[in-house]
Each structure stands twice: as structure tokens, then as C-alpha cells.
């Protein structure tokens, strides 16, 4: 495995739930290269979300080392992780996590206000095809539109890393595809490293690389020589 922008070595994560010890990650070694589009597949409880949270600085490993370029994330304090998220990472979640009291444009502005070299909120919304809906509140948008606002919010800071946890999980096929198209376009245009978690095998056709999780480890890894554009994916 080559040197990447983001790497994890020997990462384990153990939770205590009452008397029970849950070992969510049992030693993961993985590295992501600049501009790569990776998909993490695997059943529920296989550890992929735990890894994504650790890679995104939302959680810390119990042991092992996580490194983003020359920053050591494992063992970093809360302030350093916040700075890492703020400067380098964009997130997209299954349930959008928009702020209901802010319009689409204002939700994006939340990020552009604190980022260093952001694009304008309008440009970000333009990239996901939502310019006309900029003044709508989340309660006035469909699920797919809300997820695209979330994507615009994640992209607006021009992140080096985009982490998506089941971005189409709550959407039907057609709207899911529009979200993936926006994601693919952003990846192509901005050169962002993208890591997507999904249950949906079909989505892995888009990826440069597919990592399959099982029981807290990476059980297999494959590369797509010819990634398929979202418009040609069916599920």
C-alpha cells in the first residue's frame, strides 16, 4: 500500500457498553490517495462508519495511528480535531443534518463564513443544481434537494477530503442518482478525495477503489479500471 494523503495504521476502536466490550475496529490499515474516489462496502456493524468517523476527526482510535498529510490525528486534542474538520473535511450524512431554521444559502454560508478559501454559497448551490432553491428552508425542500444542499455545504469550503455516510440511504433511485451525479461532478472538478460509505453495491461502480469491511477489518479491496458515471448505474 502506497503513501496517501490520509492513512490509518493498525487502527482499533473499542467501546464499552455497560458490561459488554464492543470491538468496532480490530486493526485497520488503509491509505487514501489525493483525488481518489473510494467506496467502503459492508454490512451493518462491520466498522465502516466507525472508521469514517475516525478519519473525519469525529472520533479517536483506541490504538493505532491516523495521519492526514503531516498531521497526526490519533491522539490529537479536541481543538486540533475541530480545526482539522473546519479546514480540510466536508461531511455528508444519510439524514442531511441541515439546520432547519436556515435557508439553503444560509446553511451553506454557515461553512463559508468560517472557511479559509471558500467558494460563495451561490456557487456551491450552482454546482449541485439548486440555484433557484437558495432561499428555501429545509422544510420546503424534498429529501434529494436537502441532500444536495448538504453536499453544497460540504463542497463550499473546497475540502481536500469529502466523507459521505450513506448519502443516498434515505432517497429513492432517481433522486439518489442526482445526488451521486453532483458528487461525481464535484469530485471531477475540485479534485477532492472522496470516501463514501454505502450498503448499496451498485454505487461501488463509480469508485476508483472499493474496500469491503467485515467484522471490524478490511476483508477485501478491489480497483475499478473504468469507473462508471452515475447516470449509467442502476439499482
Amino acid at each position: 500500500m502506497g503513501e496517501g494523503v490520509l492513512q490509518a495504521r493498525g487502527v482499533t476502536r473499542t467501546y464499552r457498553a455497560g458490561e459488554v466490550e464492543i470491538r468496532a475496529l480490530r486493526g485497520v490499515d488503509v491509505a487514501f490517495e489525493q483525488g481518489e474516489f473510494a467506496v467502503l462496502l459492508g454490512p451493518s456493524g462491520s466498522g465502516k462508519s466507525t472508521l469514517l468517523n475516525i478519519l473525519g476527526g469525529l472520533d479517536s482510535p483506541s490504538s493505532g495511528e491516523v495521519r492526514y498529510r503531516d498531521h497526526l490525528l490519533s491522539g490529537a486534542d479536541e481543538a486540533a480535531l475541530t480545526r482539522y474538520r473546519r479546514e480540510h473535511v466536508g461531511f455528508v450524512f444519510q439524514f442531511y443534518n441541515l439546520v432547519p431554521s436556515l435557508t439553503a444559502r444560509e446553511n451553506v454560508a454557515l461553512v463559508t463564513d468560517i472557511a479559509e478559501h471558500p467558494m460563495s454559497p451561490d456557487e456551491a448551490l450552482e454546482r449541485v443544481g439548486l440555484s433557484e432553491r437558495a432561499d428555501h428552508f429545509p422544510s420546503q425542500l424534498s429529501g434529494g434537494e436537502q441532500q444536495r444542499v448538504a453536499l453544497a455545504r460540504a463542497l463550499a469550503k473546497r475540502p481536500e477530503l469529502l466523507l459521505c455516510d450513506e448519502p443516498t440511504g434515505a432517497l429513492d433511485v432517481a433522486t439518489g442518482r442526482r445526488v451521486l451525479e453532483a458528487l461525481a461532478r464535484a469530485h471531477g472538478e475540485l479534485g477532492t478525495t472522496v470516501v463514501v460509505i454505502t450498503h448499496n453495491q451498485a454505487i461501488s461502480q463509480m469508485a476508483d477503489r472499493v474496500l469491503t469491511f467485515g467484522d471490524g477489518r478490511v476483508v477485501s479491496e478491489s480497483r475499478n479500471r473504468f469507473p462508471v458515471p452515475p447516470s449509467e448505474i442502476h439499482w
Binding site: 432547519p100 461553512v111 468560517i114
Partner: protein
């Protein structure tokens, strides 16, 4: 235990925080209700019991000198149950080590011993006196101590035989002193034969107390009595309601009664609103549980009962604690009253009815608060309720307001829109905080009013150092005598003639005061506190409160009946109005007084004194027999400040505590609700890279906005309450408190509310810091 009851207990355990906030507020309400009502009831009962045991007379009449057979004549009048002829005067008293002039009201011992209550020692024999409680306590005098009393020009030593109190000596005011001062004035009793000689009243009396027969008409008996006493220099018959001591007691009880209605109502209302909020939030999180229970077959009635029990369970600790603290506070308040009201005993009397009322009101508040939340939650059909609640809708109505504020950050918009989306709820929490501010403003306004009374009475209107009241009306020579005292720089005579004024609306009896023409030691003030010209000649100048009471205006005439001497009745025009904190009074120019009442006569004088020789002058005055009262302005001021400081300090401390509890409770509840509703948003912001501090700032900003929004309404409500309160208790016949508020009052209120809010908010901010990002994001609300 049934499963549903078990759930009840677990839900309650999860609501400990809100329950504590709620209980604290409720406890304040219940405590104030129990304490104020309990104190009022205790005082009322103690008063009634004391008056009944000591057979407090219904009427009191003064005469110059009447032979004892006149008392028998009075006793034979229809409607009279019994009479008590007495000898009574004000006399100078000397006490070793005390330089101030002391004046005590000296009365002959009543024939029946049960007309007063012996607190310690024994009834006086020859060469002994019985001392009133206030004066005795102020100077720590007990049986065996010796006092010198100047009677009929002779200085005699008397040994204290005991300490007592009587129904007409519950609240003692010296002549020329508007406030009680136990150190300088009081009462004492001597055996009748000790007084007869010095007062030249052998076989006679100058003070008659009359008990009415059941069902007798007070005014009718008074008229008969006046007729009988007139030949003997009768100076009017006073019913109990016009006598100073009982009037002050009744006045205080009336004030207490108003407060007992006012303060608890605020707390109980806020508690009800908070409880509604807590229940609404709880049921919001239990939406699916409610649906599930309904699906399992629990009926609406069972669920309503279930949640109402929870609500009642939450108010119960507040009611219990409030009742307990209220009962304790009753004792505290009574011991405070005990210093001013000399009942023989003040028995704390917290009735079961008050506790029942407090708990009942608390439960009713809980019912009112929870009913709406519960009934709306249980009304949703199960299938609908099992679905997740729809996302909160924005983009309509008030939430559009911040759109135009271009300068507002997205965070600021979040805060504003969240507040504006539920305007009623936001409004109610702002109201709760405003009420906290208002409570403090209220206490402050009372303080400021007192302060203005002090300034007006003792600094602006009164310029004399010492005022003297003569034992009887005297001529010019009395002023010359005073002028010859050591250190007397200036002496201005004044005359007070007891009259009854009759106007179209009401009548009033009191003195017409005339000061020597050209006098400079007393000024008349107008409503703005500025110096008004001295009373014009040709009529009377009434205080505006008295004019309103009588129903007369400037230019109209009022009937004046002289209550001493010839009882002549005259119609006199009102030539002006004045405005004084001592509410009811009449002034006349000196020449007008001579025209109306005849002669150059004085009943007292105002003195300006060389400060260095004041002690010498006071010592000389103390030995002057024909003086009934000596009031030292500086001492009067100190006595007033002492009296007010006690009650204002207690009131202010208690109200500050209450207001803090109110503000903290409201902020805590708001914060918990906001945290529950916005946890996901706040966690999202953290994920997006907002620091803990930034997120905490946003959260605190929402709470701070409410506190900020409450300031002006709080001040306004405080002013409104103060206006009501002053209308209800501030203007009696004894006092009229002006409605004023100094900036420090508003600052103090704001500071207390802001501090209590800030501390509570910081407590909640630690919860924001501990938000579990991953858990919050994973959960679909």
C-alpha cells in the same frame, strides 16, 4: 406495581433537573402565600385575641377636666356597656446615662387589671410605675430600675415594678413625631392617686374609654358622648379606627393582605407556564411511546391520568418545601413585627386552610399547565403518532423577519428564527424573566419612595433642628421661654387646632396647623417637591390627598368644626393645595388661624439650635414640665431609617432570592428545551468545524436574547406593579408614598436577573460542550 406506574417513576427520574427548577419557583409561590397569609392571619388573630382579652375600648374621648360623676353619666347612655375614666398626660422622663429628651405617655392604672397585660414583674404600688414594653426593651429596663418623671413641676423617682402592654399601646407615637421611636417615647402607668395631685385632677378624669354594648351604633353613641362631655372641654370622641395605634396595626395588615395576593400569583402563574412547557417537551419526546401505549389498548383517560400524575408529582416537592419554608418564614416575620407591634404575644398561626390553599393552587397550576400538553398529545391517532414528527417548518410568518437583516450571521439568524418560530413560547419565557425583573423593581420602587419621603420630610420641608409640643395651648411667653434656652438661635411658634372638616364626600378630623408668619423653618412643597409659597390668608390649604378625600377643590368651602373649646362651626374656603408625603393635613396662615380660632396662641414651636449647645438645650427641655413632646429632627430621621431599613432589607433579600429563582428557573427550562430541540443542529455545527466555544456562544446567544428582550418589559411591568401596589397600599391616611424610581433600582433588578440567568446558562453550556457528536448525528429525530 403496574408497568405504567413504573414508567411514571422512571420518567420522573429523568426529569429531575426541570423538576427542581419548577419546584423552586413553585416553592417561592407557595412559601410567599403561606408566609404572607400566615403572618397576616397570625397578626389578625393575635390582635383580635389581644383586644378581646384586654377589652379594648371602642371609643376614646379626651376632656380638659371632668368630675368622675360625668363618667357615670356617660355609662348610663344608651348603647354604652362600660366606661373607664383615666388620667393621662405626656411627661418628661429622665433616665440615667440618657441625654436625649424622653417623653412618655403617663396614664393612671385602669381600675380593672385585665385592661392591660403584665409581661413581667408586678402591678405598681406606691412610688412604683409600670413601664410599656417598647421603651423598656429599648433601654433594657426591668423591675427595680429607677426613672425620674416630671409631673406637675415636680421631679419624682419611681421604681419600675414591671413591664406591660395594652391595646392602645401596641404602636406608640409621640406627639410631633410621625414615626415610632421606642428609644425616645413610650408609655407608663401609675396608680391613680400618684397622678391626681400633680395633674390637679382629684376626683376627676381627662380621658374616657368607652365600651359599646353589642349592636350599639358607634356614631350615635359618639354624638351623645360629645354632648355629655362638651361642658368639660371635650376634644372629640375617636372611634377605634381613628386612634393611632389600632389604625397603624390595621394599615399594616391591609398592606400585608395586598402583598399576599400579589406575589404568590406571579410565581404560581410562571410555574404553571413552565410546567406546561416541560410537559409539552416530555410528550414531544414520548410521542411514539404515547402512540404505542394507545395501540396496546390504553385509553385516553388512562394516559391523561398517567401524565397528570407525573405533573402533580413534579409540583409536590415544591408545595411541600414551600409550605415548610413558609411556616418558618411566618415565625421570622412575626419576630420582626414583634419589634414594632407590642401585642403581648404573637402566635404563629398557619392554618391547614392556607396549606390546603397553597397545595391546591399548586395542583391547579399543574393541571392548567399540563392539561393542554397532555390532551393534545393523546389526541393524535396512534398510526400518525408512530411516524416521526415532521421537521419544524420555517419560512413563514415571523421567521421571515431576520431575512432583511443583511448584517446578521447565519448563527444569528438561527437564534432569531428559532425564537420567532414559537412566538408564544418565547413571549412567555420573556414574560417570566420580565416578572423576575419586575419583582425587584417593585422592591426598589418601595425603597426609593421611602427615600423620597425621608428627603422631603426631613430635609426639604423641615429645616428646624428641634420641634417642641406644649402640653396645653400657650401664649407668646412660651416662645420667649424657649428663646431663652441655651443655644436656641431661632424660635418659630406653631399652633395646631383639633377640628373636624366636613366636605361633600367625606369628613376628617385632625389638626389645622398654623405657623408663625415669616417663619422659615418649615416649607410647603408642591407636587414636584419645589418650595411653594406660604399658605395665603383667608382660608385653608389642604394636602391634595385630603382635598380628594373630602371632595373639595380650591375656591370651594369646607365646614370646620372646632373639636376643642367652643365647638364653633364655620364655613371656610379652601385657598390652596399642598403635596406632602404625610398624606392628610391642613395648613392655615397665622392671621387666618387667629381669625378662625381667636387669639395669639401656640401649641408648639420649631427651633434652630447651635449644634455645639444642642445637648445642653435638650437637657434643659427635658426638665421643662409644660412640654409634651420634643422631636429632634436628626433622631427622627435615624428612627425612620431604622424602621424602614429592617423591613426593606428583609423584603429586598427575599424578593431578590425569589427573582433569582424565577430567572434561573425560566432560563434553565428554556435551555433544557432548546438543548433537546437543537442538539442535532448544534452537533452538526460542531461536525462542520465550529469550535465548542462558537457553538456554546450560539446556544447562549438564544438564551441571552430572551434575557435581553425581557429587560424593557421587566422595567415596564415593575413600574406597572409599583403603580398598582402604591395605589393599593402606598396611599393611606397616614402615609402617601410617591411613585419614584432611581436608576439604581433598574440597575439592581437587571443585575440580579442577568446574574442568575448567566450562572444558569453557564451550567447548561457544559451540557453543550459534552454533546456526543456521533450519537446525535446517527439518530433520526
Amino acid at each position: 406495581m403496574r408497568a405504567l406506574d413504573r414508567k411514571l417513576l422512571r420518567d420522573a427520574a429523568r426529569l429531575v433537573g426541570p423538576a427542581v427548577a419548577l419546584s423552586a419557583i413553585l416553592a417561592c409561590g407557595v412559601m410567599s402565600l403561606v408566609a404572607l397569609r400566615g403572618t397576616a392571619r397570625s397578626l389578625e388573630r393575635s390582635r383580635d385575641d389581644f383586644y378581646a382579652r384586654t377589652r379594648f375600648s371602642d371609643l376614646a374621648a379626651g376632656v380638659v377636666r371632668a368630675p368622675l360623676r360625668v363618667a357615670h353619666e356617660a355609662a348610663a347612655l344608651p348603647g354604652v356597656a362600660g366606661v373607664e375614666p383615666r388620667l393621662s398626660t405626656w411627661a418628661p422622663v429622665e433616665l440615667e446615662g440618657v441625654g436625649d429628651p424622653l417623653r412618655l405617655q403617663v396614664s393612671s392604672l385602669p381600675a380593672r387589671q385585665d385592661l392591660l397585660v403584665l409581661l413581667e414583674g408586678a402591678m405598681p404600688g406606691r412610688g412604683e410605675l409600670l413601664l410599656g414594653e417598647g421603651f423598656a426593651r429599648a433601654h433594657r429596663l426591668h423591675r427595680g430600675d429607677v426613672l425620674h418623671v416630671l409631673l406637675g413641676g415636680q421631679r419624682r423617682a419611681y421604681t419600675v415594678s414591671g413591664v406591660a402592654t395594652a391595646p392602645d399601646a401596641v404602636y406608640v407615637l409621640a406627639p410631633a413625631s410621625p414615626w415610632p421611636d421606642d428609644r425616645r417615647a413610650g408609655v407608663l402607668w401609675l396608680a391613680r392617686d400618684e397622678l391626681e395631685g400633680p395633674l390637679d385632677l382629684g376626683g376627676a378624669f381627662n380621658d374616657l374609654r368607652v365600651a359599646l354594648a353589642p349592636g350599639a351604633s358607634g356614631p350615635e353613641v359618639s354624638r351623645q358622648l360629645e354632648r355629655v362631655l362638651r361642658p368639660y372641654g371635650g376634644v372629640g370622641v375617636r372611634p377605634r379606627s381613628e386612634q393611632l395605634s389600632p389604625r397603624f396595626v390595621d394599615e399594616e395588615l391591609r398592606q400585608l393582605d395586598v402583598q399576599a395576593r400579589f406575589v404568590p400569583a406571579i410565581f404560581l402563574a410562571v410555574a404553571a407556564f413552565l410546567l406546561r412547557d416541560v410537559m409539552a417537551r416530555l410528550l414531544g419526546t414520548q410521542r411514539e411511546t404515547v402512540a404505542l401505549l394507545k395501540a396496546l389498548g390504553y385509553g385516553r383517560a388512562a394516559l391523561t391520568r398517567h401524565y397528570l400524575l407525573l405533573a402533580w408529582g413534579m409540583v409536590l416537592p415544591g408545595a411541600v418545601v414551600g409550605t415548610g419554608l413558609g411556616a418558618v418564614l411566618v415565625r421570622g416575620l412575626l419576630s420582626l413585627y414583634r419589634q414594632y407591634f407590642r401585642f403581648d404575644r404573637l402566635v404563629p398561626d398557619v392554618s391547614a386552610a392556607h396549606v390546603g390553599l397553597a397545595v391546591g393552587v399548586a395542583w391547579a397550576a399543574a393541571l392548567a399547565g399540563a392539561w393542554h400538553a397532555v390532551s393534545s398529545a393523546t389526541a393524535v391517532p396512534p398510526a400518525e403518532a408512530m411516524q416521526p414528527a415532521p421537521p419544524p417548518a420555517y419560512g413563514r410568518g415571523l421567521t421571515r423577519l431576520p431575512d432583511r437583516l443583511a448584517w446578521l450571521t447565519p448563527g444569528g439568524r438561527m437564534v432569531m428564527r428559532t425564537l420567532l418560530r414559537r412566538p408564544l413560547r418565547t413571549g412567555l419565557s420573556v414574560l417570566g424573566l420580565a416578572l423576575a425583573g419586575a419583582l425587584l423593581a417593585l422592591a426598589g420602587v418601595a425603597w426609593d419612595a421611602m427615600d423620597q419621603v425621608i428627603v422631603r420630610t426631613f430635609q426639604e420641608a423641615a429645616r428646624e433642628d428641634v420641634s417642641v409640643t406644649f402640653l396645653e395651648t400657650r401664649g407668646r411667653e412660651a416662645l420667649d421661654e424657649l428663646a431663652s434656652l441655651p443655644g436656641a438661635w431661632r424660635v418659630e411658634g406653631q399652633r395646631a387646632v383639633p377640628v373636624r372638616l366636613r366636605g361633600p364626600r367625606d369628613d376628617w378630623s385632625g389638626p389645622v396647623v398654623a405657623r408663625q408668619a415669616g417663619g422659615r423653618l418649615r416649607r410647603v412643597l408642591d407636587a414636584g417637591g419645589r418650595e411653594a409659597p406660604p399658605p395665603p390668608e383667608g382660608g385653608l390649604v389642604l394636602t391634595d390627598a385630603l382635598a380628594a378625600k373630602l371632595g373639595v377643590a380650591v375656591g370651594e368651602r369646607v365646614q370646620v368644626e372646632r373639636e376643642d373649646g367652643d365647638r364653633r362651626v364655620q364655613d371656610v374656603p379652601v385657598v390652596g393645595l399642598s403635596h406632602e408625603p404625610l398624606a392628610l393635613g391642613v395648613l392655615a396662615a397665622e392671621r387666618t388661624a387667629r381669625a378662625l380660632f381667636g387669639g395669639e396662641q401656640y401649641t408648639g414651636a420649631l427651633l434652630r439650635v447651635d449644634a455645639a449647645r444642642e445637648p445642653e438645650l435638650l437637657a434643659a427641655l427635658a426638665r421643662t414640665p409644660r412640654v409634651a413632646g420634643v422631636a429632634v429632627r436628626r433622631a427622627g430621621l435615624a428612627a425612620f431609617r431604622r424602621m424602614m431599613a429592617d423591613s426593606v432589607r428583609v423584603t429586598r433579600t427575599v424578593l431578590s432570592l425569589f427573582a433569582s429563582v424565577l430567572a434561573a428557573g425560566v432560563v434553565y427550562n428554556d435551555g433544557r428545551v432548546a438543548l433537546a430541540e437543537q442538539a442535532r443542529e448544534l452537533a452538526t455545527l460542531r461536525v462542520l468545524g465550529f469550535t465548542r466555544r462558537e457553538v456554546a456562544q450560539l446556544f447562549l446567544g438564544g438564551l441571552g436574547a430572551r434575557v435581553l428582550a425581557s429587560l424593557v418589559p421587566g422595567w415596564w411591568l415593575g413600574w406597572l406593579f409599583a403603580t398598582w401596589l402604591m395605589r393599593a397600599i402606598g396611599s393611606s391616611e397616614l402615609f402617601r408614598l410617591p411613585l419614584v424610581a432611581e436608576p439604581r433600582t433598574w440597575l439592581f433588578g437587571t443585575a440580579v436577573v442577568a446574574t442568575a440567568s448567566a450562572l444558569t446558562a453557564l451550567l447548561l453550556a457544559t451540557r453543550v460542550r459534552r454533546l456526543d457528536l456521533v450519537a446525535v448525528l446517527k439518530a433520526r429525530e
